[in-house]
Symmetry: C2
Subunit: 110 residues, 2 copies
Amino acid sequence: MAMQRCCPETTVYDRDLGAEAAVFKALADPARAAIVATLARAEHEVCVCDFTAGLELNQSTISHHLKLLKGAGLVTSERRGTWGYYSLAPSARARLEAALACVIPEKLRA
Amino acid sequence: MAMQRCCPETTVYDRDLGAEAAVFKALADPARAAIVATLARAEHEVCVCDFTAGLELNQSTISHHLKLLKGAGLVTSERRGTWGYYSLAPSARARLEAALACVIPEKLRA
DNA sequence: CGACTGCATCGACAAATGTCAATCCAATCA
DNA sequence: TGATTGGATTGACATTTGTCGATGCAGTCG
């Protein structure tokens, strides 16, 4: 007797999700999530010194995380004089929502 | 002259975001994102063999990713006979939405 | 029973990641 | 000008991660 198929076969989602995965990766660290959460709640841009004061991490480590977030396009930075300021990128939430919608679309069974 | 403060100071978000970061980390890999995207679109559970056939990865690698996703609580698995089946966890989308809402709450300026 | 098959687990390994100390750079202050 | 300061960059290092090959195991077929 031939072995029955395991199940009605499913085609694996084949579009490349590298970009979506990259967006999630940007938030896949507690420190970076905290930075973004801070920016999202702030009424104005946030000085780097606030992060170095508030997070229990070395200054260079924080600088590194900020750089990653900026690379992911989730935050923007501006330099005024000696100080550096970071803000949530206007599109940040939309980008996250889009990535989520791509991986787990809202629609329930059609 | 005393150096003026850099800006109105901001308090860093202090709740631990380790759990939220972990959820994002689960999707922070293209292969895992593709697996979840497949499950989210499937009308029924998906056999492991569909993943090994559709993804260009070693069988053991796929098994590893499935394990991570299960550990993150995003998928559920069932074993029937020789075959293994995976489904999207019912709470998967809600968990992601909650994590997103925690990091970047919906509200705009109050 | 014995051969086979689907999937999980283990061991190994290269690559990526998070962290810190040290250094560098530009702007400010005295 | 020279000293100081905020923050970025570099180098080093331990840990984690993604991947594969080999092996193990339970269920199936003959």
